[in-house]
Symmetry: C2
Subunit: 349 residues, 2 copies
């Protein structure tokens, strides 16, 4: 008996294919097949190999597998500088769902960040060239999405949360929520409660997503035969602007003064609530307010804010579904999918 260690005996460190093969009395490849193509093995062999795997607590080494198969089973997600606003909290819900969904598909989520807001390709390029991730999920499509174009031009697999507003002919898959329909829900809701003067508090014209949401307000108001004149305010997505806008909107004579506010975001709605409070008005009684995002703040503030809720869990599922198609090089019939939001009715309306 030789006292020399056999090549499959690696003394204490993690078991490898060879270790398992030795234990089960088969070759490396057979163990590999047991994991990746079990239908190729004879039932009894398969059972023996699985027993050995179980016994040794074996898991295939990711690095080795990645190297050989040229995949990492990782999906990159860029999280930008933390701005403490409701949009961020929204991302949190989405990230959770994304992690769950990718898990089902056998993937993991890799987070990365960018120093400079300037360079759109920051981070993406490096991860891509080093083959650290198989694909990306792009979320910040709010500001015209410069990443999408760049990624697309390089043939990088990615799925966007958000429509390619800029270019209609984009060839990448995307998932989005119908913001317009959400606002329509909100308008219908407050009109249903008897409001005739329904104001809009939204973002500047530059934002296409903001224009989309606003269009829901305009259209629905007209559908109901209501005027939108002197009822629209646009500005930054801040609490301060929301407050200022409400002030300005309320500063008109009685018959034309708005009695309801539909907002492009919860942040803006919170600003409206603050102004109402300052004027001694009670949201939900003296005026209706509806936000957008259904953030935690909307749920816990007093009075609780009615808000449009995006189906982020569904969005994540759809995103991962697209990723699966993309990475399996399957043809994708429809490049985009629009999901419908719901309305969480609370005390402010």
């Amino acid at each position: 008996m030789s006292s020399l260690a056999r090549p499959t005996d690696n003394g204490g460190s993690a078991p490898t294919l060879a270790t398992v093969a030795d234990e089960a009395g088969v070759s490396r490849q057979t163990v590999s097949n047991a994991l990746n193509s079990p239908e190729l093995l004879r039932p009894d062999t398969l059972a023996r190999v699985q027993a050995a795997i179980e016994k040794l607590g074996y898991s295939p080494n990711r690095a080795a597998r990645n190297l050989r198969t040229r995949t990492s089973h990782l999906v990159g997600l860029r999280v930008d500088r933390a701005v403490e606003d409701s949009a961020n909290a929204l991302m949190d819900r989405f990230v959770h769902s994304l992690v769950e969904s990718t898990k089902e598909a056998g993937y993991h989520v890799l987070l990365f960040s960018a120093d400079e807001e300037e360079d759109a390709t920051e981070g993406y390029d490096e991860l891509l060239r080093s083959a650290a991730v198989d694909a990306f999920v792009v979320t910040d499509t709010y500001r015209g999405n410069p990443h999408a174009a760049w990624l697309a031009s390089r043939g990088v697999p990615f799925v966007a949360f958000g429509r390619p507003w800029e270019e209609a002919a984009a060839r990448h898959p995307w998932v989005d929520v119908d913001g317009r329909a959400g606002v329509e829900l909100a308008v219908d809701h407050v009109v249903g409660r008897g409001h005739r003067r329904v104001a809009w508090v939204g973002w500047q014209k530059g934002s296409l997503i903001g224009e989309d949401r606003r269009a829901g307000w305009v259209d629905r108001m007209h559908d109901h035969g209501l005027s939108t004149s002197r009822l629209s305010a646009r500005g930054d997505d801040t609490l301060e602007f929301g407050a200022r806008a409400a002030h300005a909107l309320l500063d008109v004579a009685e018959p034309d003064r708005p009695t309801a506010f539909v907002c492009a975001s919860d942040t803006l709605a919170m600003g409206v609530l603050r102004t109402l409070d300052g004027l001694g008005l009670r949201a939900g009684r003296d005026a209706a307010v509806v936000g957008f995002d259904d953030s935690i703040a909307a749920q816990v503030c007093t009075p609780a804010l009615t808000s449009v809720r995006q189906p982020l869990e569904e969005v994540a599922v759809e995103v991962v579904r697209y990723l699966g198609e993309l990475l399996a090089h399957r043809p994708i019939p429809e490049l985009g999918r629009v999901l419908t939001p719901t309305l969480s009715v609370r005390a402010t309306s």
Copy 2:
């Protein structure tokens, strides 16, 4: 001239060490050294290699490097089932900071999740055995942290956000925020504003972190020569309990009725605010309220909530610092680090 492709010519796919070596007229190993130990090269050679790297847009293949060096440069972070409360929003801020900090250290964050809340080792085991991550960051040390013990027993490198309350003799590094000091800040603040009857709204006795925070209230009240009798309420970390607790606390005769509420979380504070509102009382004028976490909701609600703010950015930095020491197998002098929170004073106090 042979028309056969040279082994370093891989026709269109990503450049490798060999490609770069060919371009620069040196060997593979020299290119590798140019990246990992540039001081070994002669300046002119180094420059030539770097030029070739730049020209070809080369980045070392992660999988190959990971395989050879037995590291992944990934840090695992488990995100549990998304519960929509303030604690989650807190995590969001932390995750952002963590991503930034790990980036500086040359690492990335890998997110994973667990199906079952039951099995503490869910997910950790698999990632560990497959060598997918080098270390973990454990955050949910609120509920007695079962992961820490398991990870420690297996010799897995990890850093905890949260003290090892259960076992004082834990041998893993951790970073925590001094909740007790935070509550003391809050008590000092409201007492400084003239409040004598300061109530505590916190969690059940089971929570050690809750007891710690409560101790800050008890001690400080006594330091100020104030009584704590009939001023304490304990229950779940929900808005509903906060509201019920406030009701009960306010339901006593005038001289003993509390005029200020210090809470173990923003969620509870939001409950208190709701009750005050329901009773026609104005937070900040008729009663002071202080929360804990400085969540987004605290900042945007009306009236805005005074809250204890955890220095999560610093926590992340410290966590990563510990990770660095751990992964470099350097001895760690002090196993734990406690950071001091600050108080964000707003309208409710």
